[in-house]
Amino acid sequence: MAKGKTIRTRRKALETESIRLVINGQTYDLNIGSRFGEVEPFHTLSQTLRDTLGLTGTKLSCDQGACGACTVIMDGHAVLSCKLLTVECDGKTITTIEGLRDRDTGELDPLQKAFIDYTAFQCGFCTPGMIMTARALLDERPSPSEDEVKEALSGNFCRCISHYQVIKAIMSVAQKER
């Protein structure tokens, strides 16, 4: 932003202008405001994804940052979309569970396949968050040890106790990508 631009004009700009999010390769320009389809300053990213953009693959469970169900990948890091204000994500690149399949072939991400192959879920509510966290880990470190997987996934909770299968599923991909 230009030097010397006052806070007042910036605030005005925020109220009238829009923000740009790149989600799963698609660019979204969202107006800030209270009308339908607009983003309010107090909206969280999880709210925007699910309610405004209809990307309901991202789940919302505790809404307090404790369960990991709402995990998305933002600029390469797994983050909690319930703990982010959408207006503060202007210019960010975001991947959600909907964006993992191959855009050209439609083929599922190897992690998604592995979760199916290992039945790494029961009710499946935590699964998108589990997979997004695992994806960010493998992107950064393609062949983690089992302990590293456990550590990285320690913020994703599953009430059905699918954790054992989750680790097996992720390790199977980690070994393939190794």
């Binding site: 806070i7 940052g65 890091h77």
Partner: protein, 784 residues
């Protein structure tokens, strides 16, 4: 989340400017992992009007190492600290502390500055609005810390973060530090309780009897059952002081060589005399009457304040070297101007003795209420008649009526408004009523005529009209309601005012008036009722103390005015006992109306006083400091740089019940500086939680131990989550010094660290966990 104005800022300066503009009503978002939860749950004391996003501020997220040590930008993510090779290599206690925070997902978002500034984790404080919150706890301006008597398994082992101002002290005109002396009373240390009392009040035996009690109505315990009977405890402390007067009223060690004159020996004069004499000045008090004591001796009747108490108080002051010269009428026997010439300073505290006239026909027939009390107090107990009309509704009217009753007369109180508007203390009014004194409300005498030895008083009935300047409804005469009542005597007690003829004419302008004290000339000061009009004993002693400070600072003859706070304290010792308020014994009505000398309210026994003092909550917040990083930073002896100052990690965390850190509303953390640890120092961070990860510490221990020739050279052992802020276990550190770090020493050090712990009802287990962690830290073992 409710709405707020949102700002993105590019620089810290912009953020600070906004914070300043919002005057505490804006919050910084440095990561959002704590803030957004608080906003969603509505758990903050006030929902912020604005959120200022600083996440895009550049240059504050670097970890740099130089010769001096480490510099970490405030916006550095905890994940980056966990993964930093520099931190892992040389500052493992910090890396481990960072890794212990919440989950990897949260560590990808939260920053070190945010971790240090996060809000407390008390679940009463954080009770969400979605399920019926918020709970207005002490931290949010409520009256009770719920953890005191409720669930406190996660709370402090080492006391509470004290309130900055206690409601009891704030209510008291003299700002007596009640929790501080009550703590000593319950500890059985009356000597120290007395010392703490005297810092604020030199005449507690007197105020403990006649104070209209400003403190008890403010007591937070009222929210639970009944207030602590503070006045009754004060009375006992006062009696204790008078019994050992020579210990407490000793001549000062150093004489200043200056002499100060005080005109008037009432409570304001006595109080000024005490504080000035204590500061080393010679003090000479001039008193018009035959005996020192002012209103305390000549106006307040013996059944409320035994003369003996006042006399012993005067003798106590004499014992410290205060000279009383009685029978000197300043203005007649000696001029004020002469006193101002002869003395370094003159304090006029002549009280409010001038009675207002009734303004009726036959005014001269009415006797003066104050003159009557004077006479009785001087020993002349003759009554002016059997049936006596007492005109007025204030404390003097009550004193006159109750005195008359005790001397065998039949007083009738005539008051032009109703009971509710009477300015007398409620307690006095209740006592007068239960003693059977007759009241004629809405009655205004208009004329008095002598009639064959009796007095015919023409009265008019009144009704209540619109409020007057005092806020009370104005009495309005009812036309044609006149009637005549016959009495043997008529006594007026409709209020007093200061007689300021003694003072220079400029007094009326009161240019440098500070409320209850005023500087009237170069070395002339006035205070007490003379300045304020009739008030109370405790207001007068506050004025006397204030005047002593004012005189010393104005004339540059002493140290700055005495500090308001009696003693320094870090954490207050919270206390909850279910005991009911002590019943304060009173003389029976039939017994007490027989004599002027029977004190109507009695004191309590020392045992009862201790029990009553135990009822003081010693109000404070029992929540523990929430930051894990902070505990490690204290062990590393780090400093925290803000937009305003550089502060040591230990001092950064506030010990106040309302703020978690020392940060001002418009102050921000910018950097954390960690000195390079000694080569080979063993560092450790151990944290016990109920479930890993995500949960907050039940206890954490950060330590750094340097060895020399196989023996401990220096140790820093810091405990987290056991007190309102991280605390150093100094006793354990001392224990380790010069010893090998073996099992025996580790066990002793762990015991020493927790020796001072004062567990609450449900958290004694935390002390055992803390000991286990300290032992493992010393032995270099993992937490589990």
């Amino acid at each position: 989340m409710k709405s707020f104005t949102h700002y993105d800022v590019g620089t810290i300066e912009e953020a600070v400017k906004l914070l300043k503009n919002y005057k505490g009503k804006a919050k910084i978002n440095a990561g959002g992992t704590d803030l957004l939860g608080a906003l969603k749950q509505g758990s903050l004391r006030d929902y912020p009007e604005a959120i200022i996003n600083i996440k895009d501020v550049k240059g504050l997220d670097a970890i740099k190492q130089d010769k001096a040590g480490l510099r970490i930008g405030a916006l550095t993510k905890l994940a980056d600290i966990v993964n930093s090779p520099i931190v892992k290599e040389s500052y493992p206690v910090l890396a481990d502390a960072a890794k212990s925070v919440a989950t990897p997902l949260i560590r990808n978002m939260c920053t070190i500055g945010g971790n240090l500034a996060q809000d407390v984790r008390c679940w009463y404080y954080r009770y969400p609005q979605q399920i019926g919150g918020p709970i207005t706890c002490l931290r949010k301006g409520g009256k009770i810390c719920n953890a005191l008597m409720g669930d406190n398994r996660y709370h402090s082992l080492f006391g509470a973060a004290p309130l900055e101002t206690y409601p009891c002290s704030s209510g008291c005109p003299a700002h007596i530090d009640m929790p501080s002396y009550l703590a000593m009373v319950r500890a059985g240390d009356m000597m120290e309780a007395a010392r703490r009392m005297l810092v604020f009040n030199p005449v507690p035996a007197i105020t403990g009897r006649v104070c209209p009690i400003f403190c008890e109505p403010e007591c937070n315990r009222s929210a639970f059952d009944e207030p602590v009977a503070i006045r009754c405890v004060e009375r006992s402390v006062g009696d204790y002081i008078l019994e050992r007067a020579s210990d407490f009223f000793a001549p000062p060690e150093h004489e200043s060589g200056r002499t100060i004159a005080i005109v008037g020996s009432g409570p304001a004069g006595m109080s000024a005399a005490y504080y000035l004499r204590k500061a080393g000045h010679r003090v000479k008090v001039f008193e018009k009457m035959k005996e020192a004591g002012g209103m305390l001796l000549y106006s307040i009747p013996s059944y409320r304040l035994p003369k003996d108490v006042v006399r012993r108080q005067v003798r106590a002051l004499e014992g410290m070297g205060v000279k009383f010269q009685v029978g000197v009428n300043v203005g007649k026997d000696v001029t004020l101007a002469e006193l101002m010439r002869r003395f370094a300073a003159v304090f006029v505290a002549a009280g409010a003795w001038k009675e207002r006239p009734l303004g009726i026909k036959g005014e001269k027939i009415a006797l003066s209420g104050l003159a009557f009390l004077n006479r009785v107090n001087a020993g002349d107990t003759a009554i002016p008649g059997k049936k006596v009309a007492v005109v007025g509704g204030g404390n003097v009217a009550m004193d006159v009526a109750r005195t008359l009753l005790r001397l065998g007369a039949e007083p009738v109180v005539l008051y032009r408004r109703t009971r509710d508007e009477m300015p007398a203390f409620r307690d006095e009014l209740e006592k007068a009523t239960e003693e059977g004194i007759e009241f004629q409300f809405l009655t205004l005498p208009t004329e008095a005529v002598k009639n064959n030895g009796s007095i015919s008083v023409t009265c008019r009935r009144m009704k209540l009209g619109a409020p007057d300047a005092s806020g009370r409804p104005q009495p309005v005469p009812i036309a044609g309601s006149e009637f005549i009542a016959t009495f043997d005597a008529l006594i007026k007690a409709i209020g007093e005012e200061p007689d300021t003829t003694l003072l220079p004419a400029e007094f009326s302008t009161r240019s440098s008036n500070t409320g209850s004290t005023a500087r009237l000339g170069k070395n002339l000061f006035a205070g007490g009722d003379l300045v304020t009009g009739p008030s109370t004993v405790v207001q007068a002693i506050a004025a006397g103390r204030e005047a002593a400070g004012l005189m010393e600072s104005a004339l540059k003859i002493g140290k700055p005015a005495t500090s308001e706070r009696g003693t320094e304290r870090a954490f207050s010792e919270p206390s909850f006992v279910a005991t009911a308020r002590a019943g304060i014994p009173e003389a029976s009505i039939t017994e007490r109306i027989k004599s002027l000398e029977i004190e109507d309210i009695r004191g309590l026994s020392p045992k009862d006083i201790e029990a009553e003092a135990r009822r003081c909550f010693n109000c404070g917040c029992l929540a523990v400091g929430p930051s894990d990083i902070g505990v490690a930073l204290v062990a590393l002896d780090a400093t925290i740089v803000t937009t305003r100052r550089t502060v040591g990690a230990l001092d950064f965390f506030s010990t106040s019940a309302t703020e978690a850190t020392v940060l001002d509303p418009d102050e921000m953390i910018t950097e954390i500086r960690v000195p390079r640890p000694a080569d080979g120092a063993k560092q450790s961070f151990l944290k016990f939680t109920l479930r890993e990860p995500v949960d907050f510490a039940i206890v954490s221990v950060a330590s750094m131990i340097s060895m020399k020739d196989g023996l401990c050279d220096e140790a820093r052992i810091v405990l987290g989550a056991v007190a309102p802020s991280p605390i150093r276990a100094f006793a354990a550190e001392e224990m380790l010094k010069g010893k090998p770090t073996d099992e025996t020493v580790a066990v002793l050090a762990a015991e020493a660290a927790l020796a001072e712990a004062k567990p609450l009802g449900m958290n004694a287990y935390k002390a055992e966990i803390a000991k286990a962690l300290i032992k493992r830290a010393i032995l270099g073992q993992p937490a589990s």
